[in-house]
């Protein structure tokens, strides 16, 4: 009987993919999430917290030349904030689709939302 058999089936681990993207030395702060351990009940719950892959978010963050290092927590919060942003912009755009008596969200609904809503001002002129 293998002493180290995991108790639960393995689930894709977002943090592991994040840890694999760079050498360990780059994250002095939260380095606990190496994801090499077998999944526990707590870890499974934690995977539900971020829908967007942290590795991709981190890669985007590093595209900024002024950014040297980012803690794992900061990557997670940006991922979560982005998720909330997507929800928000989709809902706000829907209002315009409904005004046009449509059930399909279209690009112009996005454009209208961006123009009308202050928080989306940073997007003006940026989308293809």
């Amino acid at each position: 009987m293998a002493a180290t058999a995991p108790a639960a089936p393995a689930e894709p681990e977002l943090d592991r993919s994040g840890a694999e993207d760079e050498p360990r030395g780059t994250e002095p702060e939260e380095d606990g999430g190496n994801g090499q351990a077998g999944p526990t009940a707590g870890a499974q719950q934690q995977h539900r917290l971020a829908k967007l892959p942290l590795s991709r978010i981190k890669a985007l963050m590093k595209a900024d030349p002024d950014v040297s290092l980012a803690s794992q927590e900061s990557v997670f919060i940006i991922a979560k904030a982005t998720e909330l942003f997507v929800e928000m912009i989709a809902k706000d755009a829907l209002v315009y689709a409904q005004q046009g008596k449509r059930k399909t969200l279209q690009r112009k609904d996005l454009d209208n939302a961006i123009e009308a809503i202050d928080e989306f001002a940073f997007l003006e002129g940026t989308l293809d």
Partner: protein, 142 residues
Amino acid sequence: MAERPEDLNLPNAVITRIIKEALPDGVNVSKEARRAISQAASIFVLYATSCANNFAMKAKRKTLNAGDVMSAVEEMEFERFLQPLREALEAYKKGQKGKKEATEQKRKDKEKQNTDENDKSRDEEEDEQEGENEGEEEDVEN
């Protein structure tokens, strides 16, 4: 691995799922709208990162931390996000702590295994006892 910001998109399937879950049933999203939202999301990440980095630099830190991101979100006028973000962060930290402990436990188990292999040749009885101990440690891990 020099990636340009334009090349880094977020996975379509995930973006689509987030959109669908936010909207009522029966609402569809055109491909162009989905693409635009995905682009907007990438730009949001870049903007939030830049903003957060300013806070880190102001504090003379080289590492962007959670607090910097929270400050950035507030400055970007997304105050409504702050409370859910705080809650998510707490849950995330708890999960990380569990993982850390599990990693520690795994490391201890491995070391114990290595020690066992050295002792195996000497005493079989002792080996059985070690086996029982390993079982106990497994319970703690779970």
